[in-house]
Amino acid sequence: MSAVLALQVDGLSVTHAAADGARTVVSDVSFSLPRGRILGIAGESGCGKTQLLLALLGLSPPGAQVGGSALLSGQQLVGADRRVLRRLRGNRIAMVFQDPMTALNPYLTIGTQLAEVLQVHRGLSKSQALLHSQRMLEAVGIDAPARRLRQHPHELSGGMRQRVLLAMALLCEPDVLLADEPTTALDVTVQAQILDLLLDLRERLGMAVVLVTHDMGVLAQVADDVAVMHAGVLVEQGPVQQLFDAPQSTATQSLLAAARQLSPTAQGLV
C-alpha cells in the first residue's frame, strides 16, 4: 500500500429493508483511491452507484443497513457519529450533483449559499465567507464573480450553475470530491468545459475524485482508473486503458458497445 490513500473502501454494502425482506443494493464493494487520482465508476441506471456515494456520506435513507468499512484519510465513515459526519461533509468530503437546476435553492442568492458552507465549517463571518466564495468562483472560471454572488440561481445558465456547484463543493478544499453524473444534464460543449475544469482543479488542489457516470466517453476523457458496477457489485476495475482495451466482464463490454453504437465513427474511445 503506497503513500496516503484519500479514500479506502473495504467490503462496503448497503441493504434496504423492503416489504418482502431485505434488499442489498450495494454489495461488498472495495476500492482504494490515492490522492490526486480520478476513479470513474460506471454502470447502468439503478446499479447502486448513487447509493454507494450516499453511503460514503452517511446519507443512506433511514432504515438502511450499511456494513463494511470506508476510510477517509484514515477516518472511519461507516457507523461514525452524526456530528462527526456533519463536520466531515462539505469539509473533507464533498459532492457535486447531477442536476444543477435543482441542487441550488431557488430562493437564496448564490453568495448566500456559497458563504453558508464556509460559515458552518470555517466559522468565517459572512463578509469573509463571501470574499472567499468570490475567489472560488473565479477559480472555476466564472466571470464577474462579484456580480454572480448577488444573483439567484435562475439568472445563471446550466453550465454556470454546475460551476457554482463545483465551487461550492471545493470551498473547503476537500480530500475527496464525489461527482454524481456531473455532466449528464449539460450539453456537449459545456460538458467538455466542466470536465477540463475538473482535471485542472484536481491538478491544482491534489484532491481525489470519484466520478460516477454511465457515459464511457466521459470516463475515457478524464478517469485514471475505472470500476464497473453491475447490480450492486463491482464486477471489474483497473486502469482506464486496460479496461477499455480488454474488457473482461459482460457488463463492461455492453457499456462500451452502447457507447460505440451512439458514436459509430469513434471506434476507439481512448
Binding site: L59, R89, G90, A94, D99, Y107
Partner: protein, 273 residues
C-alpha cells in the same frame, strides 16, 4: 416575477377601508359608546354630521362601523398571525423530521381537529368571561391546524428536492436546513395562505359575534353589528345593511388579493420563482 397583475381595485379598496377604520373614529366628534337621547335613530344626513345616521341609542353609525371594522381586522390579523406562527413551526418540524416525530405531531393535529369549535369557544367564555383576547386564542387555536397540514405537505415535497440533499452533503444540521432552506421556500405559500386565512377569520369572528360570543358591548365588531342590525331589520334596515355591506366588501377584497397572490406563487401558472 411575471404573471397576472394584482387586482388593483381590490387592493386599493382594502387599503381605503383600513385607513378609514383607523382615521374616522380618530377625527370624528363622536365616540362609539356614548348614547345620545336627543339623537335617537337619525336618518343619514350631512346637516348634523351623522353621515350614516345614528343607531337606536343615538350613537353615530359611521363611527361604530369603523370601530367594528377595527376590531374585526384586529382579531383577523392577530389570529391569523398566531395560527401562522404555530402552524408553520409545527408543520415544518413534522415534515422535515419525518418518521415518529411526524406521526406524533400530526396525530395531535388530527385529535385537535375533532374538538368541536363552537362548544370549545363557549367553554372558554364560561371559564374566562367574554374577552377580546379570548377571541384571538380561540380562533388561532383552531385555524393553525390547516396551516400545519399545508406546511407539512410542502415540507415533505421540499425535503425530496436536491438542494436539501446538497445542504446535507454540505454538512448543515437539520435546524440550519429548516431555517435557511425550508422556511424561505415556504414563504410564498405561507403569504398566500395568510391572505386567505384573514377573510375566513373575519367571517368566523362575525359568526361568533352573531351568536353573542364576540366583542362585549359597548365595543362592537362587524359581526356584532350585523347581529344587532338583523334584529331591527324591519324598522331600521340601514343598521344591518351598512355593516353587512362592509363585511362583504372586506372579505371579497381579501379573497381577491389572496387568489392573485396564489396564482403568482404557483409555478404551474407560470409565475413565481
Amino acid at each position: 416575477m411575471n404573471s397576472a397583475p394584482l387586482p388593483r381595485w381590490s387592493l386599493l379598496l382594502l387599503l381605503t377601508i383600513v385607513v378609514l377604520a383607523v382615521v374616522v373614529p380618530w377625527i370624528s366628534p363622536w365616540n362609539y359608546y356614548t348614547p345620545s337621547w336627543d339623537e335617537l335613530d337619525l336618518e343619514p344626513t350631512f346637516v348634523n354630521g351623522h353621515w350614516l345616521g345614528t343607531d337606536d341609542l343615538g350613537r353615530d353609525l359611521l363611527v361604530r362601523l369603523m370601530w367594528g371594522c377595527r376590531i374585526s381586522l384586529l382579531v383577523a390579523v392577530a389570529a391569523s398571525l398566531t395560527s401562522l406562527f404555530i402552524g408553520v413551526l409545527w408543520g415544518a418540524t413534522a415534515g422535515y423530521a419525518g418518521g415518529r416525530v411526524d406521526a406524533w405531531l400530526m396525530r395531535t393535529v388530527d385529535v385537535l381537529y375533532a374538538v368541536p369549535f363552537i362548544p370549545f369557544v363557549i367553554v372558554l367564555t364560561v371559564l374566562f368571561g367574554r374577552n377580546i383576547v379570548l377571541l384571538f386564542v380561540a380562533i388561532g387555536a383552531v385555524s393553525w391546524l390547516d396551516t400545519a397540514r399545508i406546511v407539512r405537505g410542502q415540507t415533505l415535497a421540499l425535503r425530496q428536492r436536491e438542494f436539501i440533499t446538497a445542504a446535507r452533503v454540505g454538512g448543515m444540521s437539520a435546524a440550519q436546513i429548516v431555517r435557511r432552506h425550508v422556511l424561505p421556500n415556504l414563504a410564498g405559500i405561507v403569504a398566500v395562505y395568510l391572505t386567505l386565512t384573514i377573510p375566513t377569520v373575519i367571517l368566523v369572528e362575525a359568526f361568533l359575534g352573531y351568536l353573542g360570543l364576540g366583542a362585549q358591548a359597548p365595543l362592537t365588531s362587524l359581526g356584532v353589528m350585523i347581529a344587532d342590525g338583523a334584529a331591527q331589520l324591519r324598522s331600521r334596515p340601514r343598521l344591518l345593511i351598512c355593516p353587512a355591506l362592509l363585511l362583504a366588501l372586506l372579505v371579497l377584497c381579501c379573497n381577491r388579493v389572496g387568489d392573485a397572490l396564489r396564482d403568482r406563487f404557483d409555478p404551474a401558472s407560470g409565475g413565481g420563482a
